[in-house]
């Protein structure tokens, strides 16, 4: 499927924003400018940008702790993300959830999970609700390859297929489950092959090519939207900064990292836009400058915001506060 120049530029703008947001965190944490815990998404931008243009606003997303790019793609304001990561009142949850637990239902981000494999069952329930309400909304559950080795994923995939639920399982296969190579965690060569076991289609795409990902997503979304059940989409990619920020990545062979960096989806898509005449170098340079500025503004806004007040500890534990023996 060919995408309009406008859509392709939007994809690039999203990718650049995701990259800039990650780069700025890396710089800030690395230099001691600020402190926050972070599971970097750098390298996986093509997948999230494709979701960004393929999902409707009312489509829902369940993502994970490695969710910066997914959240940006789905339209969560950067201030809410950074604010949550840095424990400020501007955060999506006023700093009460933290990096791993960001939700913004207005943007369709219903859940971010810190437990590997915990998201798919919840995605199934969101899809059940859509079906029950007669909505043509789709729930995308995004996760890494590690999630697919959990029982929780297996239960959810089986249920989604059994009931033809409007779910798309997006596996961002960055070739590692935390610090262990994928090949050491499963007998199958391709994660997408798992789908056959559930009676759902499994497709495998180059996760560094946003257009390929968007094409696969559109087909899966369309199918789900029309009552034809779930699809498993494996997007093969890489994460450049390891499992968590500060990961020394001793377990990643140098040549593997080098070739992954050489296939960095952001410059690659930039080159594609130039080669195909979709945009000029000047235009793209401007997009990059805008993204960097946007990130910096968000960061400074967050840094000048307050930490949450102590009384937040008594709020939101229960709908109405309960008195406990002290």
């Amino acid at each position: 499927m060919t995408r309009s120049a406008e859509v392709q530029r939007r994809i690039y703008a999203l990718m650049v924003l995701m990259k800039a947001a990650d780069d700025r965190l890396s710089k800030g944490i690395g230099t001691g400018e600020f402190i926050c815990v972070y599971w970097p998404s750098r390298g996986q931008e093509a997948i999230a940008a494709a979701m960004g243009i393929s999902l409707r606003r009312d489509d829902q997303l369940v993502t994970t702790y490695r969710g910066l790019h997914d959240l940006i793609g789905k339209g969560v304001p950067l201030e809410e993300i950074y604010g949550e990561m840095m424990g400020r009142t501007l955060g999506a949850s006023r700093g009460k959830g933290g990096t791993m637990h960001i939700a913004n239902p207005e943007a369709g981000v219903m859940l971010s999970t810190g437990i590997v494999g915990a998201g798919p069952p919840v995605g199934v329930g969101l899809a059940m609700a859509a079906k029950r309400k007669g909505l043509d909304r789709v729930t995308v559950v995004s996760f890494g390859v590690g999630a697919t080795t959990t029982g929780s994923f297996h239960e959810a995939a089986n249920m989604a297929a059994l009931w033809d639920l409007p779910v798309v399982f997006v596996c961002q296969n960055n070739l590692y489950a935390e610090m262990t190579p994928t090949r050491d965690t499963m007998k199958l060569e391709h994660v997408a092959d798992r789908a056959a076991g559930y009676g759902m289609p499994g497709v495998r795409v180059d996760g560094n090519d946003p257009l390929a990902v968007a094409t696969a997503l559109d087909e899966a979304l369309n199918k789900a939207r029309h009552g034809d059940g779930p699809t498993f989409v494996e997007c093969v990619t890489f994460r450049f900064r390891g499992h968590y920020f500060g990961d020394r990545m001793r377990y990643i062979p140098k040549d593997q990292l080098d070739s992954a960096l050489a296939a960095d989806p952001v410059p690659r898509f930039r080159a594609h836009l130039l080669d195909t005449g979709v945009a000029t170098d000047e235009e793209l340079t401007r997009v990059e400058a805008v993204a960097a500025q946007q990130v910096e503004t968000a960061l400074q806004t967050v840094m000048s915001a307050d930490a949450p007040s102590i009384d937040e500890l008594d709020r939101d534990v229960y709908a109405t506060p309960i008195r406990f023996p002290v």
């Binding site: 006023r94 959830g97 329930g125």
Partner: protein, 335 residues
């Protein structure tokens, strides 16, 4: 209020039936809960409301609760069933890390007001993996409410409250109580607020604090204490462990100055530990005797009936514990 004699099973069925009837958002999901396979409190409901609203699921406890959470985030009121409480470990991550914490972690932007119904199978010689009484696990999780009814009336009233409560609720049923009968209000609006203990029998000499099946041991013990020992025991049924009705519990013991906590959960680190700690903090100096605890022995539940009978509390054990509180050194000094 019109009331009808029925079993606990029928009372719970009526609560589910009326909830399904009055609110489209309510639906049930679980293993073998739809007809013709259903034999517990959900029997007949799929025939009445359809398999869309009373859904049989695969054997997938994590996904049953996880799917309930997803549907609840989206505004529905799911009632998930974990057939036997011992299976709840498989769903524990969803309960503990998603349902209980969402409201806090998202500052109220998402919530999961699910009800998880489950059943304790103890006492049926089903062995160690089909007998456990595990409510203490979930009392330990901020965000969860924990409910354990003892009578058909309480079962209906509390389940109705749980289904429509804004917080996730664990509703613990007991297989040995499902057939017990009692009067039950039939009004669909009948509900018992969560967090209100009930004095099941008034008394003046010692307070028996209990919930769920142990309420019946306590009531039997109270009758024996009265008839054979001229001791007046007050029976306080907590009904919900979270919220815990500290006021009712403490005001009873303030009067009687002696207490025995009874539960089917193992005694060591059981719910009674928290209750006793609360009582001593509130009533230190007013107590005539150390608070006694009667709970299951700290062993995996044995299968052989002869052994299993030794594990759980019994009216006789409650009587003995109550007598110890009446014979303690301090009580002796006071005459």
């Amino acid at each position: 209020m019109d009331s009808k004699e029925m079993t606990m099973r029928e009372a719970l069925n009526l609560a589910l039936d009326q909830a399904l009837e009055k609110d489209e958002r309510v639906f049930l999901l679980g293993e073998d809960i739809a007809d013709p396979g259903a034999s517990g409190p959900t029997a007949g409901l799929s025939t009445k409301y359809g398999h869309d609203r009373v859904m049989d699921t695969p054997i997938s406890e994590a996904a049953i609760v996880g799917a309930a959470i997803g549907a609840a985030i989206d505004g529905l009121l799911p009632v998930a069933e974990i057939m036997i409480m011992d299976f709840i470990g498989i769903a524990a991550d969803q309960i503990i890390n998603n349902a209980a914490k969402l409201r806090f972690m998202t500052a109220g932007r998402t919530t999961a007001p699910i009800t998880v119904r489950t059943q304790v199978y103890g006492g049926l010689a089903t062995g160690a993996t089909h007998s456990q009484t595990l409510e203490a696990w979930f009392m330990h999780i901020p965000g969860m409410k924990v409910i354990v009814p003892s009578t058909p009336r309480d079962g209906k009233g509390l389940l109705t409250s749980a289904i429509f409560d804004e917080d996730p609720c664990l509703f613990v049923e007991t297989i040995r109580l499902q057939g017990q009968k009692g009067p039950v209000p039939t009004d669909p609006d009948f509900a018992i607020p969560l967090g209100q203990a009930d004095v099941k029998r008034p008394g003046t000499d010692v307070t028996l604090i209990c919930y769920g099946r142990s309420v019946h041991d306590a009531l039997a013990a109270a009758a024996t204490l009265q008839d054979e020992h001229a001791v007046s025991a007050e029976v306080v049924d907590l009904r919900t462990l979270v919220p815990l009705d500290v006021d009712t519990m403490v005001s009873s013991v303030r009067r009687t100055r002696r207490a025995v906590v009874v539960h089917d959960a193992v005694r060591f680190a059981g719910p009674g530990a928290e209750i006793v700690a609360t009582l001593q903090a509130e009533l230190f100096g007013e107590l005539e005797a150390p608070v006694e605890r009667v709970g299951a022995r700290f062993v995996p539940t044995p299968a052989a009936a002869a052994l299993e009978a030794q594990v759980y509390p019994s009216p006789a054990r409650v009587v003995q514990a109550a007598q110890r509180t009446l014979q303690s050194a301090k009580a002796g000094i006071h005459g």
